[in-house]
Symmetry: C2
């Protein structure tokens, strides 16, 4: 998609191409990042200024994350010892999967889902088991999840606010899922983990609250990153935290610490850890995303496309006219509009549009969308 967009822009001019295919934050880091980075630069004459830190992370970073997440996830007992600094949320996930999966183990995941999840567990013989979410809300289908659990189920993985739907799972849904997991785990030697991937937690609209997950189950593991909220995706810093009440929580943290090392991460990048620690309370300008969302939904309304209003993240996942999402996305491409077919997220008949793009791209796309939808339907 990245290449297709670049090619179209070369051919037709950047102002004639509407690229909604990329989920990359395009904002600068928060203003405080600059001074924090200068302060880091000033330390570089010290021995080991950029040296190895422990495989679980730089202790002041782990402590700051623990303090922040104790409040955010309503788990006052959370300590640095329950935190592993990671190479983004992605690195946390592969390290976690390596630590807990045996070959043949299953990872249940509501669909649509970020397609890379299948690779993350597949490296180690894990098998992703997609379970379609309810439509049109895209909330979890708990009956279907319960029915999908087998003896090989090791993890239930979910992502809220969701990529690609923008759905935030309500507190009652998480509670019901936690009850299901508790019930199943009562009779299992190897428990099922609830793995919550939360890079978009900071980004909720219209006063929506993203319910904390860590406090809702002793089997909860939460992954986060500073890629989106601090716009430092390229520096690769995130974390894994485990519920302190988890049976053998120390063993899990020790295992993830070891897999962080042996998978070749060794430690999360030290500049990123120091930077994130210094500006942990900061954030990018959420009003920008809020305005873009409003504009994007107006564009879709104008074109007559149907969608569930995204409650968080910077995606919307409209139904594609005619039902064949690949055909429609290809048609959009011929009109210089780039989207990602829902099939790419395990969910046919929809497409993902990312509104992490400049305002005027959204604005100027209104006519193109309207024309494209009308002529596709004709």
């Amino acid at each position: 998609m990245f290449d297709a967009g670049a090619e179209l822009k070369r051919k037709y001019g950047a102002d004639k191409v509407f690229d909604f295919s990329l989920g990359n934050p395009d904002l600068p880091p928060p203003p405080a990042a600059k001074a924090a980075m200068h302060a880091i630069a000033d330390t570089l004459s010290e021995p080991r200024a950029l040296g190895y830190v422990g495989n679980a992370g730089w202790m002041p970073f782990r402590e700051a994350v623990a303090e922040r997440l104790a409040a955010e996830q309503r788990v006052p007992a959370l300590r640095a010892s329950h935190v592993v600094a990671s190479c983004g949320a992605a690195g946390a996930m592969t390290s976690f999967f390596r630590a807990v999966l045996n070959p043949g183990d299953e990872v249940i995941c509501p669909a649509p889902y970020f397609v890379e999840y299948a690779s993350y567990c597949g490296h180690f013989g894990g098998k992703l088991v997609p379970v379609p979410s309810k439509k049109p809300s895209f909330d979890l289908d708990l009956d279907a999840i319960a029915a999908a659990i087998t003896d090989r189920t090791r993890v239930i993985l979910f992502n809220s606010p969701n990529n690609p739907t923008g759905c935030i799972y309500p507190a009652e849904t998480i509670d019901a899922l936690a009850a299901l997991v508790a019930d199943k785990n009562a009779s299992r030697e190897r428990p099922i983990f609830m793995l919550s991937d939360e890079p978009y937690r900071f980004l909720a609209y219209d006063g929506a609250v993203v319910p904390p997950v860590l406090c809702r189950s002793p089997y909860a593991v939460v992954l986060g990153s500073f890629s989106k909220n601090l716009s430092m995706a390229g520096e690769r810093v995130g974390y894994l935290v485990a519920n302190p009440d988890m049976p053998d929580v120390e063993k899990l943290i020790a295992a993830v610490t070891i897999t962080t090392r042996t998978l070749g991460f060794v430690n999360a990048p030290i500049v990123g850890q120091r930077l994130a620690k210094a500006i942990l309370g900061e954030g990018v300008d959420l009003d920008i995303y809020s305005r873009r969302r409003r504009m994007m939904l107006q564009v879709l309304d104008g074109a007559g496309l149907e969608y569930a209003v995204p409650q968080g993240a910077f995606y919307v996942f409209p139904a594609t006219p005619g039902g064949d999402d690949v055909a429609f996305v290809n048609y959009l491409l011929s009109q210089n509009i780039l989207a990602v077919p829902g099939s790419g997220f395990g969910c046919k008949g929809y497409m993902r549009l990312s509104f992490s793009v400049e305002n005027d791209v959204i604005e100027r796309s209104a006519e193109a969308f309207k024309k494209a939808v009308a002529s596709f339907r004709a």
Copy 2:
């Protein structure tokens, strides 16, 4: 070992403990790093200043590495397209193994070797096959390597200057290995790769030259990092380069680019890539390591320990009196000297001492070593 050292220092005082167990550079980054980092800080108000870059790395970094390695490895045809930026040499190695290994494939490696290699290939069903090096030189035993090659051999992995021996493999040895690989590959569908792990290339003593490997075989892949020469081990930046004449070299680079993404690295940390690119020509003060090596060898001479003179890196690998390396290293520990038994590197009867420690630690250890060896022998 890290914890044992800290514990001893608490108990007896830092000046009474001689810790030669850690292979971490203890120098600051080169002086130019400071200005380079300030310059990076100045860009942080730009959109995407720390945003994602391509999975293969930031193009100016890849170009700079290609230009440098074209000269260093005597492969003028090397281009950015043959370079993947990685999360250190370790990340490059796991991404490479994931790209080329099928379960059951074998990775031949001269022993002693960095023990983590077994995990790096083991994650993906690869099996490390250690082949003892010649003694006392620790040069490769090519007959033994030839005898170890089977239908499942996929990679021959070596590390020069070597951790733990400090040995530099001579050009003739590499040439003979390349000839062996060429001979075997002539009749194989899936070729054997020569994988050269080179984090210590910059550190050779007494005018020794580390022969380039990339130019010596079309099947050569070289891994490097800036952890040691720029003392930025914690920022995790390295690279993989493949010989441009390799059959299907584009496929290999594409595969490593994908595994870099799907293993969760996504891209090498962007601050580190920008910093390394800015100060690529710089280096830490080699005279410091040279002086430490001289002092360390004097200490060993004084204690009557036998060793192959290390030609590179910052390790020496003496034979342990009595032959039982674990027993001797434990005895040293009781005398507040920390070393790593050769068994930890797949080579009994030796121990690794890292002289990446402050001069006065080496100096003050002379008496302790002398006493320890004498009393152990008594």
